[in-house]
Symmetry: C2
Subunit: 767 residues, 2 copies
């Protein structure tokens, strides 16, 4: 078949889709439901933001911010994104939020409009009337891409939010009152306890502009966010409540009453208010611009991004940005729910990392100095243990220039940190060292191997090597000397050995591309270290002691204390993405391996063991396969390396259907900064990057009926699934540009060259 | 007599002085004794610094830094400069110190060398062996301008210190040991309590360079000092003790042991150590550069000011600077003690304010933004309630360009603060609002009237006016409306009314010069407000109520609660420097006033009232006249406004002799950032600026035998005192440039035009 014929087929297929009414229009924003994942463990936020925006302006329904007694609140984990769908009250709207993380920070600059008696405390969810928070109803709530609206029942105020990259735009419609207040709670924040508030500074510049900053010691150890806040209407008066328990010289020698109309404020825990008189339905608007560098930069950001007060225009501008982002992949599906899942996944996969520099190019570096990003956009918030798997490979296809900037940002991190290591989990000019491995090397190798990154490739390799040789990093010295991390030396010795081995393989692939033979040989050898923790007796990767023996006490269902991080041996033992063939052979061959995999997906994980599994709800698990967390994300594709690839196809479709839904509880685990969503997007399109660093994408079973990816290079890559249906989950044939493929993967170049990939679907497995 | 004749006389006088051996050589540093004022209430520091240097590298003998239990230590006031002469131990050497203040802050970056067992706590003065501090003896201590040396007995280490403007240079001579340590205590500081330590950040850049910053909430509310610290020899290992009680995520997820050889540290309360092996008498040197802006600027400052390791050269360079500064006035005296007092006064009057900008011109503004000082050197630490009286007038004569820069710095403060007020008591980009009045206007008016300041004079006047009309400032609204501050509205209503009236007169004088008639009239009227608090019945200024009546309960000897700040009615009632004639008339005429003044200097102040007098020792008082604090500094000169000016002459000489001595306890009160010293210098030369803002200096009685002031304009102004002796304290005649004067003052122009002022002294008053 010639290409032209295929195009005809595609065209017909398109027609068919239209008739099934699941062909999206150019306005793809309509399919984005930010509310997905806001219940239970998704940890997404429903508020307004633009793609990769610095500002995520979103409601908080409760956080630890209000525990002034210093007591640890066990619910903190629920509020990673500040909002839980089942909560009855909204505390306020703050400007920074992670999407889908399993630990947290941020929640800067909580704003809340109220009327009546001024109450400078948040109150409780049981008694919102005793504080500034308000009850609300989901019936009166709208969450769209870059637009959030809610009626605040307590005070009869309509709150609307939209944003640009660096500015949050609030619009509050008040009732008629002499006592309208806008609260700015500068001590609120996500995961706020143990003196997290380090310092806060505010200047009231005039009757409608204030500037300041908030400095915290949280997950980011040394973090400061600067702001400029402009009001559309001058406030009549203002004031500040200083809740700092310990502060030297607070009194300014009694010269001034700092609690009211005093324009220079500072302390550890401040709350401010601004008073207005309003007419019925009078709108008061606020623009809050952020900067990582200075108050003056924040003001400059505001002037550059939102010079005026046209809320609707700013909302539309952001939604246009979203449509541009979403239209990079135009799909048709059998069900509308799938369209919503797909575009919400694209939405969730365009929230993090976030732009971390001012309009003038300045940003705060890991060295706590001000830098200028020369020739790249600087990003922050890299959840690399999650995102190296599918999120960054996804960007390599749809936004390679963005992923190149991300690599540049990682290299800046490397240059600026005293540790001489690439980022592990970094955000806001800080390394928080969360999770394991050194997966920056996967992202960098993948980006260079795929031609995405245009910077100094050898310098990037050197950074990877230096990172991989940092002996004092979590057991790495042992790993380098012994080929594995002894179990008695480190609590996650097995998973780290596996992850290091994969990362080392990435470095080897990059070295190979750059003709750095010595590096290639060294790291290719290291990449086989996974073999050192395989226990033939149990058939699992297993903790191994310094003396070479395997640890006796070992439970393959348990997660805690078994040598793995956030996964049990069943899920984590299969983490050899760089060489499934060798792993399968070591595990007893293909046939035995299929049985093993079947068991994983069908066995029952008793509740006692599930309780230990982090970051997921019961929905996030299938048998003993944990989809709601990352270590096994490639596992469904491993059937491709056996004689039964059709089981990959059915399993992937099963996961797509079971793990992703349209409701607030639609995600079975943390979205993890786009990784869960990137898995969905790839798998929906019919292929997946089993081992980033390789240019291969292994086939699964497409969920879409068709897809057209518009590439940055001007080409398009289209996918069709003939005979697509809920039951036809098996792939009968794959045809690339008219030529049937006799392999189970396509390569990156084949995608980037543009063309048509045609899946012919079938109701029964093709054995 | 012609000028030439006078010069002959001068020359002869010089010869005579030489024979009396009190003629100083060009090496005037030999007469500087930084130890003067380090005992009791002087609050000076003995360590090393250059004129107006940013770094004051000086030993601490005890401070509040070590009270981790948060308990307030009543002795805090003793340690305003970190050092008390009578203390038996030295805790370490820190880099920033105020000179002679009555409240405190600073003490940044305490360094201490030790040997033997590592002890990361300071220990106690009773048991220095239990900590890193050391016993020492004054016999083994040398304090010179820009050089301090002490033997640390505990560890047999010789410590030597010197500086440049922005860099402290340490030289430690160790014994032979495998366990040499250099402690860097980042939680130490002066007046450290109540969570003053806000945040500390450190990077170990390599084995001999670290950078970081310390952020405090002290007298300066929001203050950060950045540093770069270079060691002459690589350390073998290093570590950090994090004493923060409350810190989120301190553990870095257990990935690293941050206590040892971990290069990125942050927390609220950190102590670090650096380990070495040393040979006998091996010197280890440290260079600690400071910056108000960034670590990179600190490093740049270090490279610019001390690129190498030549301790002696740096010491000499600083002492050369001092000699240049001191040689601006070359005096001869009857006694060597007077030479020491004079040049130590010049030294003390060249310590503050301090340079507050980096070698690249950047500094932190009051708005907490980074600015570049364009066309001026930016200064900080303005103790204006003290220094407007004589210190700034002194600079107008010997260093007008420096005073002009100080005025520019004040104008920058005005432009940058949200308060729209000139500085009251500001330091390190903060306003601490200490003391009363708005005496910046005195400094500015005086500088402009005397032709010192070359900036925008009308803008300066506008700033003065705005400051003087800030109604919410300490009773100012009442003062503006009623002509005085009602006693029930403010605790220091009388002294503030008096000070505002004087300040207003300064504004009027400036307005007059600038032909701003409306401003002149408004403020000239305000300048008479002192009359509104004069109580004819008691003959004192007295608290007055809103209803116009004087407060019944009133004690003219008490200091507390009588409506005055740091002074009783006897001392403060005479504060009408702008119009002594009118004041004397109101108080009953010249004759009565002489009796009144005589009483002040001769009466006895009972101990119960002395106890309330702040900032002085019993030595700081003469009768009921308090010289150890500022409000009455002009009072001895008020006899000039009666028919008995000779009493000014004898009284001034008495004060010069009684209040200034060579020993550690040589100052009877806080030196107050050079004000006490400037009083000494003026009075020693024979004249004093009774009312800055006027161009007149009123005569007293010179203590010097001769003096030559080398002016910035290239001219010289010389003073001789013929027939000078301890007994010849009375002035028979004053001859200016050969012409006998029939007035009791000279003008600023007469000084700046150069010439010769000849006092003919006498043993009896000339009535």
């Amino acid at each position: 078949m010639k290409n032209t014929s295929i195009l005809t087929v595609l065209f017909c297929s398109s027609i068919l889709n239209v008739s099934a009414q699941q062909k999206p229009s150019g306005n793809l924003v309509q399919y984005v439901k930010p509310i997905i994942g806001t219940a239970k463990m998704g940890h997404t936020f429903p508020g307004a933001t633009v793609p990769f925006g610095s500002v995520q302006l979103s409601p908080e329904t409760d956080t630890l911010s209000y525990e002034l007694n210093g007591k640890y609140n066990g619910d903190v984990y629920k509020y990673c994104a500040g909002y839980q769908y089942d909560d009855p009250t909204i505390v306020g709207f703050s400007h920074t939020h992670f999407s889908g993380t399993g630990h947290s920070d941020l929640g800067d600059f909580l704003v809340m409009p109220t009327v009546g008696k001024l109450q400078l405390n948040p109150g409780t969810k049981e008694h919102p009337e005793n504080g500034y928070r308000s009850a609300y109803s989901h019936a009166n709530e709208t969450a769209e891409a870059n637009y959030y609206k809610v009626k605040l029942d307590e005070n009869n105020i309509l709150a609307e939010l939209t944003t640009t990259t660096r500015v949050g735009f609030h619009q509050y419609t008040f009732p008629k009152t002499d006592q309208a207040h806008i609260i700015l709670d500068l001590m609120a924040g996500i995961y706020n306890y143990e003196d997290k508030d380090v310092w806060t500074y505010v200047r009231v510049v005039n009757d409608s502009l204030i500037t300041g900053y908030r400095q915290t010691n949280g997950w980011a150890r040394t973090r400061t966010v600067y702001f400029a806040l402009s009001f559309s209407k001058p406030f009549n008066q203002y004031g500040c409540q200083n809740n700092s328990k310990r502060q030297v010289y607070r009194g300014f020698w009694g010269k001034f009453d700092q609690s009211k109309n005093f324009p220079e404020l500072a302390g550890k825990q401040l709350r401010m208010y601004f008073d207005f008189k309003t007419n019925e339905n009078e709108k008061i608007q606020l623009k809050m611009a952020l900067s990582p560098v200075s108050m003056s930069n924040a003001l400059e950001n505001m002037k550059a991004e939102i010079p005026g007060w046209d809320f609707e225009a700013v909302k539309k501008q952001g939604q246009d940005q979203w449509n541009k982002e979403l239209n990079k992949i135009v799909v048709s599906t059998t069900h509308k729910e799938d369209l919503v899942n797909f575009y919400t996944s694209m939405y969730h996969a365009a929230l993090m990392p976030t732009v971390y520099m001012d309009v003038n190019g300045q940003y705060k570096g890991l060295d706590q100095e001000v830098h200028i990003a020369k020739g790249f956009v600087n990003y922050t918030s890299f959840s690399l243990w999650d995102t190296f798997r599918a999120f960054h490979p996804y960007l390599n296809i749809i936004s390679p220039s963005r992923n190149a900037d991300i690599v540049s940002s990682m290299m800046a991190h490397y240059d600026q940190t005293a540790m001489h290591m690439l980022p592990i989990w970094s955000h806001y000019a800080n390394e928080n060292w969360c999770m394991s491995g050194y997966h920056s090397v996967s992202v960098i190798s993948d980006a260079i191997i795929k031609g995405t990154y245009k910077g100094d490739e050898n310098a990037a390799l050197d950074a990877c090597v230096a990172t991989a040789k940092h002996r004092s990093f979590e057991g790495l010295g042992y790993y380098m000397d012994m080929g594995y991390i002894p179990s008695e030396k480190n609590g996650v010795s097995v998973s780290s050995t596996l992850e290091y081995a994969y990362d080392d393989w990435c470095i080897a692939q990059l070295a190979k591309k750059l003709n750095r033979k010595d590096v290639y040989e060294e790291f290719n050898k290291r990449s086989e270290n996974w073999k050192n923790v395989y226990d033939k007796a149990s058939g699992f990767m297993r903790p191994r002691l310094s003396d070479g023996s395997f640890r006796k006490n070992f439970d393959v269902l348990k997660t805690d204390g078994q040598g793995f991080i956030e996964g049990n041996a069943w899920n984590f033992s299969l983490y050899v993405p760089q060489n499934p063939d060798a792993m399968i052979q070591m595990m007893g061959g293909k046939k035995k391996f299929v049985t093993h995999l079947d068991s994983l997906f069908t066995m029952h994980l008793p509740d006692e063991f599930f309780a230990e599994t982090e970051d997921i709800t019961r929905d996030g698990i299938i048998g003993n396969y944990v989809h709601g967390n990352e270590p096994a994300h490639h596992v469904a594709y491993l059937y491709n390396f056996t004689d039964q690839p059709w089981k990959t196809q059915s399993t992937v479709r099963m996961i797509l259907n079971k793990q992703y839904h349209n409701g607030a509880a639609g995600l079975g685990g943390n979205d993890d900064c786009g990784q869960m969503s990137a898995w969905y997007i790839f798998s929906s399109l019919g292929f997946y990057p089993v081992a980033p660093g390789s240019d291969k994408y292994y086939f699964g079973s497409p969920l879409v009926k068709s897809a057209t990816i518009t590439l940055e290079n001007g080409k398009t890559f289209s996918i069709t699934a003939q005979n697509q249906s809920d039951k036809n989950v098996y792939v009968k044939q794959v045809i690339l540009n008219g030529k049937p493929l006799d392999r189970l993967y396509i390569t990156h170049d084949e995608i980037m060259n543009g063309g048509v990939l045609q899946f012919v679907m079938n109701g029964k497995p093709i054995r």
